[in-house]
């Protein structure tokens, strides 16, 4: 069937902010969808609350709403735009749920809006636990013994019937939020309780636990004619029990014979046929490792994280094809773009293997529980392509950027055999390293399998790697051994370390023996047809498939896995960098390893290298491509870190030079630069040891800000108020050996202001000045940021422009830079200059209409700002107020401290756009999912030094009609100042205890400012966790509370807000 010509205007729903369980993969899917719809001449209306996405860019859709993803708002947009159809299956669970609510309420029918792709019944049959079970029964597909319940009692009763352990899965939540395995009745009651709360429909599934079975996934596609194909299957190295998002996954499956492979494939096709899926779908199976017994775990009737992985793993553009299917095409009408000859109706075959490893945020959350289970905890992932699993695993490990180059962690080295055996039973993010260590300590493959239930085949892979390490340690280096090590994925650095040579010696040996990396193509068909898409991975087989090109080539380095502090914004910058270069006639090369991103789509750059971002891996590419230059300033810290290595290889660094980047980072040189410009900065010093730190801190006077150099997202950054705290923090930082000194600065409490700018060497263009609502001390990524500024005086604005211009020129910045200022007691200080793109670039580009990356790229290529038509200095202010608000994923990570500080903790962000500041704030709060009530109760418990400041806040809320609960100290203080509150005990049991209040939903907001220290056993910590787990907004900065108050002050509700099409501002 050709395209349905009745479809003329489509609403695409995005997935909202990046949170754990829903990352960049939906920007990738949504972007593919928008591009495809536009190509078909369809008018695209887009709604997504996430301003950092590529899909919300002005060239992606005709109408763009960066608005809260709520039924209320989307209804309004439908009423304004009157689309004829809605595309629901590319916006993750968020998009799907929204579309379902709109459909089920009858709104879509009323407005004559068609749901594209899979129908409502199909979605319901896949999503609703009971419907799904019934459907599986009707087609004779086995499910795991399970029951849907709505109460804790019901869960207990069923568990008694089928026996423990059981798994709890809440309905309609993403990433399995609120789920878990219960091995005791007490655990069951706890998990069932929280699961029911988290579920949109207060529903959970209690099911028989089949931990230890193999977990296998199939990515499947079906069109309206009923043609079905499987794109790829994947095998989780971790058996059932670990969320697939937290598992190390390989593609294709490795331990399945054709009989098992086809049995599950046939089942997957039967299921999507029964569900009448039209588009992409993911089916997860559990397979008994000792028989043909299997069970269907779950079906996602939409494009998912796994489909992004499958797309990148095979080269098959799932989202694009799913979009075409949604608008009427059938698989046999869609071309396979990779070969250009064959059709999309075929099944990719791989002649390489793919390994995915999740990227976890545990370094950010030292108190967090690292155990992996049914609740996903990873923020992102890396993927590696290699001819063998060993090399795939090694590539993936070094792509993680955890300072680990092979399967070895220092802290495990000292463990004895019995300790390792104990640790093997413990499923956490380090288990693959524990397995390697166990093999080193001669624990048998069989024993490891027995404990971990990980298939012997995979343990064998680790065994081979450890055997190779041993060979390198014991034998004299020769060409054969070196070649073998390279084929197994060992970098020169690791080989050097193990063989007692230097990296340079190994490299020279390789050159002597002609052992060099060659690149092979990802072509969907194992070379059966000639491929047109230049999508490459490295191997040490002979024959290089990279096509020669005489064009001027520029390498753009990507930003690796999504993590806290380095998110999707940098992919936005990389992709725009590529597009800008292409427009200027350059051939573009992108290097990245994140399968969730737009940048790793094969039709973004002219050449895509799916490789780790390490000096050696990048050098291999440089050797083959011999580019004209490289741009590092768009790919975040990941790319910046490679600047020196690139310079050493003789690659021309385009834009700001390495020495100047160093001047911005090196303490002494930076001070000098600021001095040269006459710019103030907080006093400070550099230290290595605790003693030095105490000395410097006492000279400066507490509080002081402590942080390591060269980190992103403020990792390890903290404010110390006394000697004890600074000791604790410096020790923490020094747990990892520091190449660079630790910085200790005077902490200045003031208003924090941020600027992104472009400098061409002579002039500077500033799109806008952003103001943080939280005072300095809360990481900029965790602060609410407002553009244009609301509280910055004209003279300070002038100073900011002047300073920006001076320091950009002083540091010889060519391209983009980001500066953080503090305004305190009438003075403007610079606290940080980053000569690279920042996380605010996408949003400020969108709201000011200045395509920052495009302009920066032109400047990097030698153009002058004066000639580009945007002027210089501060660009004209928008008449709209834009409020960027952080979004956290605290509920996903047990025991993570939720209090805000100098270390960044948010995973994503939303934007509120309105003519009035208050409305913009309200929109942003709604978009973060905060339940903004204008009446009710608040719980206040603040530390002594905040009590004074808290008083007017309490008064305001009281006046507004809120009842106030407070802990005794806070209550006494309030009473003394005439504010009545109900005193609650910090007791954890009984009526009117905090736990009772929070759990019974009597509290609407919690205000808690953290006391000193980072320990997890304090009451404040527990209160914050309790609030997060009960989905009650908990504010740890009084500035945020003031912002909230502004949002609710005049009783404006969501119904009063007007969606703004940002293409019109």
């Amino acid at each position: 069937m050709p395209r349905n010509k009745n479809i003329k205007k489509v609403l695409v729903i995005g997935s909202g902010p990046i949170i754990i369980g829903q990352a960049a993969e939906f920007d990738y899917a949504g972007t593919q969808a928008c591009r495809e719809l536009k190509k078909e001449g369809i008018e695209v209306v887009l709604v997504n609350s996430n301003p950092a996405t590529i899909m919300t860019d002005k060239n992606m859709a005709d109408k763009i709403y960066i608005e809260p993803l709520t039924v209320e708002t989307v209804k309004k947009i439908i009423e304004i735009e009157k689309p004829d159809s809605i595309l629901p299956n590319l916006g993750g669970q968020t998009g799907l749920n929204l579309a379902m609510e709109l459909a089920e309420s009858g709104f879509l029918k009323e407005k004559n809006v068609k749901l594209l792709g899979t129908g409502v019944d199909g979605i319901r049959n896949a999503e609703d636990r009971q419907c799904f079970k019934d459907m599986m029964e009707s087609i004779n597909e086995p499910c795991i013994a399970s029951k849907v319940v709505h109460t804790v009692e019901g869960a207990v009763e069923f568990a008694k019937e089928i026996g423990l352990p059981v798994i709890i899965r809440p309905a309609y939540t993403l990433g399995g939020t609120g789920g878990g395995i219960a091995t005791t009745m007490e655990e069951l009651e706890e998990i069932a309780g929280s699961g029911i709360r988290m579920s949109r429909v207060n529903e959970i599934l209690v099911e028989k636990c089949i931990a230890g079975w193999k977990e296998i996934e199939y990515e499947v596609m079906r069109d309206s004619k009923g043609n079905c194909i499987t794109i790829c299957n994947m095998e989780n190295i971790d058996p059932v029990g670990v969320h697939t998002g937290d598992s190390i996954v390989v593609a294709p499956s490795q331990t399945l014979s054709d009989k098992e492979y086809q049995m599950l494939r046939t089942s997957a096709i039967k299921i999507i046929s029964a569900l009448k899926i039209e588009g992409g779908c993911n089916v997860q199976f559990a397979l008994n490792p000792n028989s043909f017994e299997y069970a269907v775990i779950e079906v996602n009737p939409r494009v998912s994280r796994s489909s992004a992985l499958a797309s990148k793993a095979t080269g098959y553009p799932i989202a694009k094809v799913a979009t075409k299917i949604a608008i009427g095409y059938t698989l046999d009408e869609i071309r396979n773009e990779v070969t250009g000859k064959t059709y999309a109706c075929f099944e990719p075959v791989l002649d390489y293997v793919v390994v995915k490893i999740p990227k976890w945020p545990f370094k950010k959350f030292l108190t967090a529980n690292r155990v992996l289970g049914t609740q996903m905890k990873a923020t992102g992932e890396v993927m590696a392509i290699a001819p063998n699993l060993e090399a795939g695993l090694m590539k993936a490990v070094r792509s993680l950027e955890e300072n680990v180059d092979y399967l070895s962690l220092d802290k495990l080295k000292k463990l004895e055999k019995n300790e390792l055996e104990e640790k093997l039973a413990y499923v956490d993010n380090e288990r693959i390293f524990v397995i390697a260590e166990a093999i080193r300590k001669e624990i048998s493959v069989e024993k490891i399998h027995e404990i971990t239930k990980i298939d012997r085949f995979f343990i064998g892979i680790v065994y081979k790697l450890v055997k190779m390490e041993r060979e390198l340690e014991l034998n004299k280096m020769n060409s054969k051994m070196l070649e073998k090590a390279k084929k197994l994925g060992f970098t020169d650095k690791v080989i050097a370390k193990l063989s007692g040579k230097t990296e340079k010696e190994i490299k020279e040996l390789r050159m002597k023996y002609d052992i060099v990396a060659n690149f092979k193509m990802v072509d969907t068909c194992s070379a059966e047809f000639e491929a047109k898409t230049p999508y490459y991975y490295s191997s040490y087989d002979d024959e290089n498939e990279v096509k020669e090109s005489n064009k001027k080539k520029v390498v753009v380095l990507g930003s690796g896995p999504i993590r806290i502090g380095q998110g999707i914004e940098f992919d936005y910058c990389s992709v725009h960098g590529v597009w800008a270069l292409k427009k200027q006639g350059y051939e573009t090369i992108i290097v990245n390893n994140n399968p969730e991103t737009v940048s790793t789509d094969f039709d973004i750059a002219d050449r895509l290298y799916f490789e780790p971002l390490t000096p050696e891996d990048v050098e291999n590419i440089i050797n083959v491509e011999k580019p004209y230059g490289a741009i590092v300033q768009f790919g975040g810290q990941t790319a910046i870190k490679l600047t020196k290595a690139l310079s050493d290889m003789g690659v021309h660094i385009m834009g700001t030079q390495e020495v100047d980047m160093d001047r911005a980072e090196d303490r002494k040189e930076f001070d000098e630069a600021l001095n040269n410009c006459g710019i103030l900065r907080p006093q400070g010093g550099t230290i290595y040891t605790v003693d030095e730190a105490i000395k410097v801190a006492n000279n400066l006077g507490y509080p002081v800000l402590v942080r390591p150099s060269y980190v992103l997202g403020g990792q390890g950054m903290a404010i110390a108020y006394d000697d004890k705290e600074i000791t604790e923090y410096v020790n923490e930082i020094n747990m990892i050996a520091q190449e660079h000194p630790i910085l200790v600065d005077k902490y200045i409490m003031g208003r924090e202001v941020e600027v992104d700018a472009i400098c061409d060497g002579d002039d500077v263009l500033i799109p806008g000045i952003m103001e943080h609502l939280e005072r300095a001390g809360v990481h900029s990524g965790d602060s609410i940021s407002v553009y244009p500024t609301q509280n910055v005086e004209k003279e300070h604005e002038k100073t900011i422009i002047e300073y920006t211009t001076k320091i950009a020129k002083e540091l010889n910045v060519i391209g983009i830079l980001n500066i953080q200022f503090i305004i305190s007691e009438g003075k403007v200080y610079i606290i940080e200059v980053n000569p690279r793109s920042s996380r605010t670039v996408p949003y400020i580009s969108k709201v000011t209409n200045l395509p920052m990356i495009d302009i920066a790229t032109k400047v990097i290529l030698g153009k002058k700002l004066k000639d580009l038509g945007y002027g210089t200095g501060l660009y004209k202010k928008s008449e709209y107020i834009c409020v960027k608000m952080p979004v956290f994923s605290f509920e996903k990570i047990k025991n993570a401290d939720t209090s805000l500080g100098p270390e960044m903790k948010s995973t994503g962000e939303v934007l509120g756009v309105a003519k009035k500041f208050e409305d913009a704030v309200l929109k942003a709060f709604i978009a973060t999912g905060t339940n903004v009530s204008t009446t009710g109760s608040i719980l206040i418990t603040v530390r002594d030094k905040d009590k004074e400041e808290m008083l007017p806040i309490a008064e305001k809320f009281k006046k507004k009609g809120f009842s106030i609960y407070a802990t005794s100290g806070t209550a006494t203080f309030l009473k003394k100042h005439g504010v009545e509150s109900t005193v609650i005990e910090k007791l954890w049991e009984g009526k009117n205890s905090i736990i009772d209040l929070i759990e019974t939903g009597k509290i609407n907001f919690v205000i808690n400012t953290p006391t000193k220290g980072k320990e997890a056993n304090r009451d404040g910590f527990k209160i914050r966790r309790m609030a997060v787990e009960c989905k009650i907004p908990c504010f740890t900065s009084l500035d945020t509370v003031n912002a909230l108050y502004k949002a609710i002050e005049d009783e404006t509700g969501e119904e009063d807000l007007t969606p703004v099409d940002i293409t019109k501002i």
Binding site: K225, G226, N227, C228, I229, T230, P252, S253, Q254, T255, L256, S257, D258, K259, Y261, Q262, R265, T266, I269, P289, N290, S291, L331, D332, K341, T342, Y343, C345, F346, E347, P348, V349, L350, D351, Y352, V353, P387, N388, L389, V445, D455, R456, F457, I459, G460, I461, Y463, K464, K520, C525, S526, A527, E528, F529, E530, D541, D542, E543
Partner: protein
């Protein structure tokens, strides 16, 4: 031990020898399956050929005797990128190396199979020679030049008549040109008694057992070499018995009816070939293994019509004979290895037979 694959174009691929230590000539073809090496290696259609596996890890799940598609390996050699060191599967009984040695089949591992595949794709299927010694290249080239698969069906067919599923209501005669076990199993599963006839059986003999249906199996080699079998099929065509042909069986029936076959540049061998059922307007993913195809233009439209085509290259994948209960497919509905999506072909065949039997009653 180092080994080499010398191709007829003079290219030499180096690897490590596995399996039985013997030199051999073969026709080199590639298979793109990611799983299913056991079924592939035991598929008699590969007789006389050396199989290149494009998937780089082979032997991962060991060797499972119950998955053999015949009683041995008829291929001459296997060429792989890497032999798994740790095989793992609950049914595995031995490893790939031992399996090859047991059947006296040589192989090479650590071959750059992608490069080799691309060469076969671009130059077309070539003959080659597997050896440990390339000092006398002229002799090797001579061996290659003289290599011809020839009349190979006779070497792979069963020696005697065998009956499976005795006294089942539907009786099917299966012409064994080098059949895969799962053709028998697919028929047995659908309630048939299956009588297997060696490829040299006369038409009269087959008809004499009064089968309800005749199944023509897959098999190796160039179909035009099968002159005896083509003549048999001419007679069977005239009988009123429903016939289903698979792969070589499909080609032979076409040849028996005056159509022509030709050699594909590099064949279709893999589990991912899209085939369009023209009547149903549906595409199915099929398992394929053939080097020859029936030339569409040579088919007399009065005798047969094309029922299926390959979506990739448009070649004929199925024929339906007019005014006859005969239909044949180029792909492998019996799967093993590969997708089971076209098992409905067997259902259609059995339904056809049942209908016909009912009508007679």
């Amino acid at each position: 031990m180092v080994g080499y694959l010398v191709l007829e174009n003079g290219e030499i691929f180096e690897g490590e020898r596995i399996g039985y230590n013997i030199d051999t000539a073969c026709e080199v073809v590639f298979n793109t399956g990611m799983a299913g090496y056991i079924e592939t290696f035991t598929d008699p259609s590969y007789a006389g050929q050396g199989i290149v596996m494009t998937y780089p890890l082979i032997g991962n799940y060991g060797i499972i005797p119950e998955d053999y598609e015949s009683d041995g390996i008829f291929a001459k050699a296997v060429f792989i990128h890497e032999l798994a060191e740790f095989e793992s599967n609950f049914r595995s009984k031995l490893n790939l190396d031992k399996f090859l040695r047991d059947y006296k089949i040589p192989g090479l591992t650590e071959v750059n199979t992608r490069k080799l595949t691309k060469m076969l794709r671009d130059a077309g299927t070539m003959r080659g020679y597997l050896t440990s010694n390339i000092s006398n290249i002229d002799e090797i080239m001579e061996n290659i030049k003289n290599y011809d698969i020839g009349k190979i069906v006779d070497k792979v067919t069963s020696k005697e008549i065998k009956i499976y599923g005795k006294r089942k209501p539907i009786r099917i005669a299966l012409m064994d040109y080098g059949m895969k076990h799962n053709i028998v199993n697919s028929l047995l599963k659908r309630g048939a008694e299956v009588t297997i006839f060696p490829a040299n059986t006369s038409a009269e003999k087959v008809i004499s057992v009064k089968p309800d249906g005749i199944m023509l199996s897959n098999g190796p080699g160039n179909p035009v070499e099968c002159t005896f079998q083509i003549n048999v099929l001419k007679k069977l065509y005239e009988s009123d018995i429903p016939i289903l042909g698979i792969c070589l069986g499909h080609q032979l029936m076409a040849l028996a009816n005056g159509a022509k076959t030709a050699k594909l540049k590099y064949g279709h061998r893999g589990p991912n070939h899209p085939v369009k059922d023209l009547k149903e307007d549906r595409v199915h993913i099929t398992s394929q293994n053939h080097g020859y195809y029936v030339v569409e233009e040579s088919i007399n439209p009065k005798i047969a019509e094309v029922s299926h085509i390959n979506l990739n290259d448009g070649t004929v994948e199925g024929l339906r004979y007019k005014n006859k209960d005969i239909f044949t497919v180029q792909f492998h509905p019996e799967a093993c290895p590969g997708p089971e999506d076209t098992a409905y072909i067997f259902d259609e065949f059995i339904d056809l037979i049942k209908e016909k039997k009912d009508a007679k009653k």
